[in-house]
């Protein structure tokens, strides 16, 4: 059995760990609220963008030479995967879920004979894939999470994807990130960016709202093709931005949950250690008393 001194030291150290985890939980909760608010604020732009894009895509439908961002390169050989994680750990399975899903996807694509390229976003993803698939990494973006995500990160990333696509180095581009359900649950998911997939339900809802309030034919200035060519890269950035914001919110949600569990576990360990400590102390006192009494009786 451990000595009293050892027990005291362990209880002390777990108590300070508990202080740290509970402080981290509070910080994560505060940041989560901010992250959720900014995700909320970014939604109208994305919605308006989708509506315009739907209108334009309908107007240019059937024309030759659709932009690559919309229709892809017509091939399906080189896949670019963009796993998005946080820069820091201590948030439960948040990052490793993305890693696992990305690994599975890589394996599946490679089994189909496709070439895979990686563009990790966030320091955790970069470190992980540097160990696992260093040869596949083409570029990286790190060092923004934890703060408010500026739009420039998303626009820079969008430009990189666009440049790779225009250079013909990739055919398909997919994001792998945690979709934010609520503070407790984040679900890792793949979202294809290029070629663009119009969500059927959303597209229908948008189309319904447009036909209702503007039945007339749209005019375009400059022409549809130019406008579409300008709008598509912007839409790519907006989608990436939305996923970055979800990641930021999810990271803090996951950290809050993980730290809450850690705080509770620390409390439980302290309880059981204190019990052992008290019992040991009492045994020691009893032993000493027995020694004194038997000593006195012997005299």
């Amino acid at each position: 059995m451990a000595s009293l001194k050892e027990l005291r030291a362990r209880i002390g150290s777990i108590k300070s760990t508990r202080k740290i985890t509970s402080a981290m939980k509070m910080v994560a909760a505060a940041k989560l609220r901010r992250a959720q608010a900014s995700a909320e604020a970014a939604r109208p732009y994305a919605a308006a963008m989708r509506r315009m894009l739907g209108e334009l895509a309908a107007a240019t439908k059937g024309e030759e030479g659709a932009p690559r961002l919309l229709a892809g390169t017509g091939q399906d050989k080189v896949h670019l995967l963009i796993p998005i994680t946080s820069d820091r750990g201590l948030c439960g399975g948040f990052n490793s879920n993305v890693h696992r899903l990305t690994l599975q996807t890589i394996k599946k694509l490679q089994a189909e004979g496709k070439t895979v390229k990686l563009l990790p976003v966030g320091r955790r993803a970069l470190n992980f894939f540097n160990r696992e698939h260093a040869d596949l990494i083409v570029d990286k973006v790190i060092g923004f999470s934890g703060k408010d995500v500026p739009f420039s990160v998303a626009s820079g990333l969008g430009d990189k994807v666009n440049a790779l696509l225009e250079a013909g180095e990739i055919d398909v581009c997919t994001l792998v990130f945690n979709k934010f359900r609520n503070a407790m649950t984040q679900v890792p998911a793949c979202q294809q960016l290029v070629p663009m997939v119009m969500d059927d339900a959303e597209a229908k809802a948008d189309a319904a709202s447009t036909t209702a309030d503007d039945a007339a034919q749209y005019e375009f200035e400059p022409d549809e093709a130019t406008l579409l060519a300008m709008l598509l890269p912007r839409n790519l950035q907006v989608q990436i931005y939305a996923s970055l914001l979800e990641t930021a919110a999810g990271e803090n949600g996951a950290r809050m949950t993980a730290m809450d569990n850690a705080t509770r576990n620390a409390g439980r360990t302290i309880d059981s250690l204190s019990k052992v400590y008290n019992r040991t102390r009492q045994t020691n006192i009893t032993n000493e008393l027995i020694e004194i009494i038997s000593g006195a009786q012997a005299v």
């Binding site: 109208p44 503007d214 406008l227």
Partner: protein, 136 residues
């Protein structure tokens, strides 16, 4: 009959209210959105969006390029960057302009698409400085 104007930047909604007329900087010339206008989609250059109520300008916003979606009853402006003219920081804008001018000098003069992008950015920043100095 008023028109519903929304100015939205990627980060947030700046304005959402009813006004009589909106004049915005289209890529090929300024355009006014008024009630009962035929629906139109428009590419914007960097410049100032003015909101009119009762024939007077009530608010002015700088947008750094973007798109506008006009219909008979509403006008949605998707701005790459947007701020009220009164909040423009001329110092920041001047610094950006200097950086861009330097990039222009260094840029490969045969790379037309890059030059085009840079030129648009420079024009947009110049418009921002102009709008800012006009306001102050």
């Amino acid at each position: 009959m008023p028109i519903q104007i929304e100015i939205i930047s990627p980060e947030k909604v700046l304005v959402s209210r009813e006004v009589d007329m909106v004049v915005m900087p289209g890529a090929e010339g300024d355009i006014a959105a008024m009630p009962e206008r035929a629906p139109m989609m428009l590419l914007l250059r960097g410049g100032v969006v003015s909101l009119y109520e009762n024939d007077a300008v009530t608010d002015r916003f700088f947008v750094g390029g973007g798109f506008a979606d006009m219909t008979a009853t509403r006008c949605t402006i998707l701005a790459d960057k947007a701020e009220p003219v009164s909040e423009i920081s001329i110092d920041n804008a001047t610094a950006t302009l200097e950086a861009l001018t330097e990039a222009w000098d260094k840029a490969d003069k045969t790379d037309i698409s890059r030059l085009d992008v840079l030129q648009d950015k420079i024009l947009s920043v110049r418009a921002e400085i102009e709008a800012g100095s006009f306001a102050s």
